[in-house]
Amino acid sequence: MVGNRTLLEVKSLRTYFPLDEGLVRAVDGADFKLVSGKTLGVVGESGCGKSVTAQSILRIVPRPGKIVEGELLFHRYSKEGDAFSMADVVDLAKLDPRGRDIRRIRGNEIAMVFQEPMTSLSPVHTMGNQIAEVILLHQKVSQAEARERTLDILHRVGMPKPSQTIDSYPFELSGGMRQRGMIAMALSCHPSLLIADEPTTALDVTTEAQILDLMRELQEELGMAIMYITHDLGVVAEMAELAVVMYLGKVVERADVDSLFYNPHHPYTKALLRSIPRITEDRRKWLEAIRGMVPDPYNMPSGCPFHPRCVSAQKQCEEVDPPWVEVEPEHWARCVLYADGTTETGQG
């Protein structure tokens, strides 16, 4: 399965939470595209809105959060022989979050893997039953057939001894095995889009390496698009072809991974890349830290949210909402530095 079919277009998405303490703009301007067979890395620190973006796509934003603006265009294709043709486009943002349409998409065409498998799996049902449940929900198959498929998918995700683990409860499995189970459940209906929200953050490096390998293998095999949410720039570099960087609800930069790491434009991306210690680098005296801290969501800075911490901040940054500029072909940044269209080469 090849060909880069656009699966999901996210256009100026805004998801707000009207809380007693004030309006929290959890997602405040996100634009990106998901393409079949490719991985989009979504990077950002805590509170940058990366998880809410994912929840918005699946329409599972917790109350009182609401999508207030934007389009989530989900493209469906029909397959004739080896050729795909576009069948229809649904705007997920317009669907009723509890309605039939979104329920048919959720878990079926778009699936999600969470950070902590223990809290997203039912503790009182066996792994196998939970996966079979998803299959039965979305496909017309018999119980026996569902179990057959469950066994097959457990094999595929490299679950050790699938014929035994299918009847194990989540607590009997290790963190890595549970995450394999979650992935198996997500993939059981052959989704065209898989959203992975920090799936390896709770795991150790060697287990993380196993899961990352597995996800790449499965993507090659099944050709789905992956939206990979993480705070780890290393994981993005390894997993993704395209990446977006988020800061306080806004996508501040979007590019292919190579350009993002070797030719970053937004000051936040640049600073972030400079501030992380690298395993390949010998003992260095100082890290170039970003000053200050991530502000409180109720006390957002005016203008560009990054300006109080930005080394290139100018007077206007306090007031102007920075424009979304295509700084190079297919490379976008949200910063006043590029407002006039001139491109300045950053150092990676």
């Binding site: 007693d20 303490e21 004030g22 509170g47 100082w286 830290a289 000053r291 200050g292 801290m293 991530v294 502000p295 409180d296 969501p297 109720y298 006390n299 800075p301 109080p308």
Partner: protein, 385 residues
């Protein structure tokens, strides 16, 4: 020093719930202050505090508010319905609060005693009028009553009277003393046992912990009501009121402490594992300091919540025992003993006013539950984000 960051204001803090306060004020607010601010937002709890405040005040200073003494009887005025306080006379003229005398007649159809208003003479209500002498808090002699019909007027029964012709309103006020304060006594004992044993269990661990926990397992597995009844029945009938009161308090608290001890132990065990307790041990804090500066303050708020929600259980327990005739014995008055008089079906059908003390029980329990609710929300100001 070179690369020092001065953290900017507007740093992410955990108390965003309190945005409306000025920042420095919040940052220097202790846990109790944060808890109070959060608690104030809970309207039902705030109302409950006022209502309970009034109830406790009335219980403490019952005499001036009551019309008569707790055992004052009015022969021939048995089972009288609540007196109607009127403002407008027969001619439709406003006359201020007054009442008519009731006359005892027999309904010829049902052959039952009924009381009918005799509208020939009006008796105005008197305020701050002298009544039967009493002692405030049992110390200061006085005789003024808030309401009365004067020395010559007919008796006033705001809630009606009971089968011995005693004023139910006055008795309800006096009864609230035992009923409301038994909660405190019982809770105090429950907490004494619960905290001591739970604390020992959690702090020492090992065999001591095992033994205490097994005892609690045993205690908790005894059915509560039969145990209460058995113990209460064993209290000699001829004991003086005070002694019976303490016996009942003790009985009520025997059942409660097990669960509390378990909770305290669990909380202690989890607090003991907190990093800040370990840090304190590493920089040399001795056990005494650990307990009083680190462990206790951090579960005080939790205890406060427990207290508030266990008081209503005590109130209900006393009411239940006295209702069954096993608790407080007459002539002492409590809501339970008052309700005991209302046990018969005829009361429900013909003298519903005799169930009014029940309404007070419900109100008190409800109010405590509201406060408990508010406290639970406020107890951990950090839990909500």
């Amino acid at each position: 020093m070179a690369t020092i960051e001065t953290p900017t204001s507007g740093a992410r803090s955990d108390t965003s719930i309190l945005r409306d306060k000025d920042e420095e004020h919040i940052y220097t607010a202790s846990q109790w202050q944060l808890m109070w601010w959060q608690f104030r937002k809970h309207k039902a709890a705030m109302i409950a505090i006022v209502v309970l405040g009034v109830m406790y005040f009335l219980a403490l200073f019952a005499e001036p508010f009551a019309v008569y003494g707790p055992t004052e009887r009015f022969p021939r005025f048995e089972n009288v319905q609540p007196t109607r306080i009127r403002f407008i006379d027969e001619e439709g003229q406003f006359r201020g609060p007054f009442m008519y005398e009731l006359t005892r007649t027999v309904d010829p159809a049902t052959v039952r005693v009924v009381f009918v208003e005799d509208t020939s003479e009006m008796y105005p209500l008197r305020f701050f009028t002298p009544g039967t002498p009493y002692k405030i808090l049992g110390i200061f002699p006085a005789s003024l009553r808030l309401v009365g019909s004067g020395t010559d007027g007919p008796p006033i029964f705001l809630f009606g009277s009971d089968h011995l012709g005693r004023d139910l309103y006055s008795r309800t006020l006096y009864g609230s003393r035992i009923s409301l304060f038994i909660g405190f006594g019982g809770v105090f004992l429950t907490f004494f046992f619960g905290i001591t044993l739970g604390g020992i269990s959690g702090y020492l661990g090992g065999t001591t912990d095992e033994v205490i926990m097994r005892i609690i397992d045993f205690m908790v597995s005894i059915p509560q009501i039969p145990l209460w009844m058995g113990l209460a029945a064993a209290v000699p009938r001829d004991w003086p009121v005070i002694r019976t009161y303490f016996a009942i308090t003790l009985i009520l608290s025997i059942v409660g402490w097990g669960g509390l001890a378990r909770a305290v132990r669990g909380k202690l065990l989890s607090l003991r594992e907190e990093d800040y307790v370990m840090a304190a041990r590493v920089y040399g804090a001795k056990p005494r300091r650990l307990i009083f500066k680190y462990l206790l303050p951090n579960f005080m708020s939790y205890l406060l919540v427990s207290v508030t929600i266990s008081i209503p259980f005590m109130i209900l327990g006393e009411t239940a025992l006295s209702f069954l005739g096993l608790g407080i014995q007459p002539p002492a008055v409590s809501w339970g003993t008052l309700l005991r008089d209302a046990q018969r079906l005829t009361v429900v059908a013909q003298r519903p006013w005799q169930m009014i003390p029940g309404a007070f029980v419900v109100a008190a329990v409800l109010m405590f539950n509201f406060i408990g609710d508010g406290l639970r929300d406020a107890a951990d100001p950090y839990a909500r984000l």
